[in-house]
């Protein structure tokens, strides 16, 4: 099956999932205690004003009709307007999405460039000192609270050494990149613990397989065996785990964006929850869901490129 038709089929399969999510979001939002009219108009609104507002937003329409209108707007990329910012939700999201995507890329980058070599080394030097050090790290790495790690890094490299900006997203691309380094490392330090442990164990397992011994019997250099046989194969399960983490990272970005004061989706979401900005929450959740679905699709495609035994279907 060719790659393009696979992608199209997967995208089509996403549609029903997406609809189910819209229903859930729609219902859940209406379960949150609070009255949008009151929130919008404030405590001193008169009964008449509230009634008029309710009529306007269709508060008394049957639920199915409200859902239908919600869907119709959605299809026009209209996610409603923010109460807090008085701006279309879609604009708010599109403004902040690049920051969160940038953060994700930064996290993945640091996880890969630091975690992969360390995991590989721990596996190659198993039961020697580097392995023990790396294993101890991977035991504790995940349990260190991220806001604390982030603050420590900020204090050290932002405030003391002034290597990186503190709470400053900046205006130019280089400034943005600088602003993404520390948060990227902070988040990566946690995920790396899992990645390193997984890669280490895979390297140990793969090193004992017959195909590695056979490769040696062919007279290949150890460097080539490491790269083409051990690393290539050890990476396969790690890729899956990394992609699961990337998906869950979207949730984690709420903490990191708050600590580092990044104007990303996570920060937007937390502010909106605090101020009961319903339409923003609603839009944010939908964007998260779409992103997770797309990340899964990309992972499956990458995996099929890495492992020829896996076919796309």
């Amino acid at each position: 099956m060719n790659r393009l038709s696979y992608i199209i089929r997967r995208l089509i399969q996403m549609i029903p999932v997406f609809f189910i999510v819209t229903v859930l979001v729609f219902v859940l939002i209406r379960c949150i205690p609070g009255d949008p009219a009151l929130t919008m108009l404030g405590d001193r609104a008169t009964h008449e004003m509230i009634e008029a507002y309710r009529q306007k937003i269709g508060y008394y329409d049957p639920l199915w009709l409200q859902y239908f209108i919600f869907l119709k707007d959605l299809l026009h990329f209209d996610l409603g307007s923010s109460l807090r910012y008085s701006e279309p939700v879609i604009n708010l999201i599109l403004e902040r999405l690049p920051v969160t995507i940038g953060l994700t890329v930064s996290v993945v980058f640091f996880t890969v460039v630091i975690g992969f070599p360390l995991g590989f080394m721990a596996g190659k030097k198993r039961n020697k000192l580097p392995d023990y050090i790396i294993r101890i790290y991977s035991l504790f790495g995940l349990s260190a609270p991220q806001f604390w790690v982030g603050l420590m890094l900020l204090l050290m490299f932002g405030v003391k050494i002034k290597l990186f900006p503190v709470s400053n997203w900046g205006d130019t691309l280089p400034e943005h990149i600088m602003a993404l380094i520390l948060p990227g490392i902070t988040q990566a330090l946690g995920i790396m613990a899992v990645i390193i442990r997984n890669l280490r164990n895979n390297v140990v397992d793969i090193s004992g397989t017959s195909y590695v011994t056979f490769a040696r019997s062919k007279g290949l250099s150890e460097g080539r065996i490491d790269l083409r046989y051990i690393f290539r194969n050890a990476l396969l399960p790690t890729t899956t785990i990394l992609s699961l983490w990337i998906a869950s990272l979207l949730g984690g970005c709420i903490i990191i964006e708050t600590v580092f004061n990044l104007p990303g989706l996570g920060a937007l979401m937390i502010n909106s929850v605090l101020s009961r900005d319903y339409s923003v929450i609603q839009g944010g959740v939908l964007i998260f869901v779409i992103t997770v679905l797309i990340i899964n699709l990309i992972t499956d495609i990458i995996y099929s490129m890495l492992d020829p035994r896996v076919t796309l279907n």
């Binding site: 004992g208 195909y211 056979f214 019997s217 062919k218 290949l220 083409r228 890495l306 020829p308």
Partner: protein, 331 residues
């Protein structure tokens, strides 16, 4: 010995763990003549694969080399550096593995796994391709151009065996260690592989160590054989001699328990019992427990490898009792 390509002397190797020591190779000596097929025969677990891997020094970390000498074309292989060994492996001596389904890299194309054997040779892309196609043809893989682009999981067991042999031959070694090349294949494919290896010997003049537990295969392929039991060679000699006049009780038993020629499953007889545990070998003859000729001395002392005929040795105290033993072939 000018015409010996390989001479192995007093080879010993153990697998050591915290809990036990598996004495996998116990003082083994044999030699392989240039251009011959030498059979290493014995029940599963007697140490055949361990011998092959020791020859190429491919042992896992828990293996402990306990001494001995491996001379290839007069040159000692024990003590060579990893770099020096890399020049021997694949280029002088190559090995096809018993583990058909797992011995090839699952994530790279067959083509790449063959091309790897051309590293260091000055060959153009076209030459590599042509040579790879020829190799696949040589080992009898149909439509080689297409199959070079495929991955291992797209091949059947028999085809994987051929690919493994093609890879093993790619750097034109003088010697091939074929570890159970016919095991786990069905009978018609077995015959094809036997014919293939026999033809390699004839057309390429290779020396081959054939490892198998199947005496039928040995009789069709080998010029001389060594019979292994519990990590030792118990009898060695020309194939014809051993099949006609076995001088070790274990060999005699093996030959008598071969399936009949007419293909019926009945055996004349079979050897009762099981081989001893390699982590707890008896101090005397390791076959004593199953041997119908065993006496007091067999239990208390280790029998020496005795010359019992021209180029024919047996590790037994009572070789005389077998002087009239008849094998399958009547001379």
């Amino acid at each position: 010995m000018e015409n010996n390509i390989l001479e192995v002397k007093n080879l010993k190797m153990h697998y050591v763990s915290k809990y036990e020591t598996v004495k996998a190779i116990n003082d083994i000596s044999f030699s392989v003549k240039k251009g011959e097929t030498f059979g290493l025969v014995g029940e599963s677990g007697c140490g055949k694969s361990s011998v092959c891997k020791t020859l190429l020094q491919l042992l896992p970390p828990n293996a402990k080399f306990m001494g001995g000498s491996i001379k290839y074309k007069g040159k000692e292989l024990i003590g060579l550096s990893n770099k020096e060994l890399q020049k021997i492996r694949g280029r002088e001596i190559s090995m096809s593995f018993q583990e058909l389904m797992t011995a090839l890299n699952p994530v790279t194309k067959v083509k790449e796994q063959i091309y790897e054997q051309f590293i260091g040779l000055k060959m153009t892309k076209q030459e590599k391709y042509a040579k790879a196609v020829n190799l696949l043809k040589l080992v009898g893989i149909p439509s080689p151009e297409q199959r070079l682009e495929e991955y291992v999981h797209q091949f059947s067991g028999g085809m994987r065996q051929r690919i493994m042999i093609a890879i093993a031959l790619a750097a034109q070694p003088s010697m091939l260690l074929a570890d159970e090349p016919t095991t786990a294949l069905d009978v018609t494919i077995q015959d094809q592989i036997i014919k293939l290896i026999n033809s390699l010997k004839e057309t390429l003049g290779m020396s081959i160590i054939l490892v198998t537990h199947d005496l039928g295969v040995v009789s069709q392929m080998c010029d001389s054989i060594a019979v292994m039991y519990a990590g030792s060679i118990v009898e060695t000699g020309d194939t014809l001699t051993i099949f006609s006049k076995p001088r070790h009780p274990y060999t005699e038993g093996l030959i008598r328990s071969m399936p009949k020629d007419d293909g019926s499953k009945d055996r004349l007889e079979s050897i009762e019992g099981a081989p001893p545990n390699l982590n707890n070998l008896p101090k005397g003859c390791s076959f004593a427990e199953r041997c119908k000729y065993a006496t007091e001395i067999c239990i208390n002392q280790m029998p020496p490898l005795k010359e019992v005929g021209e180029n024919h040795y047996s590790k037994c105290f009572h070789t005389d009792l077998l002087i009239n033993s008849k094998g399958l072939i009547e001379l």
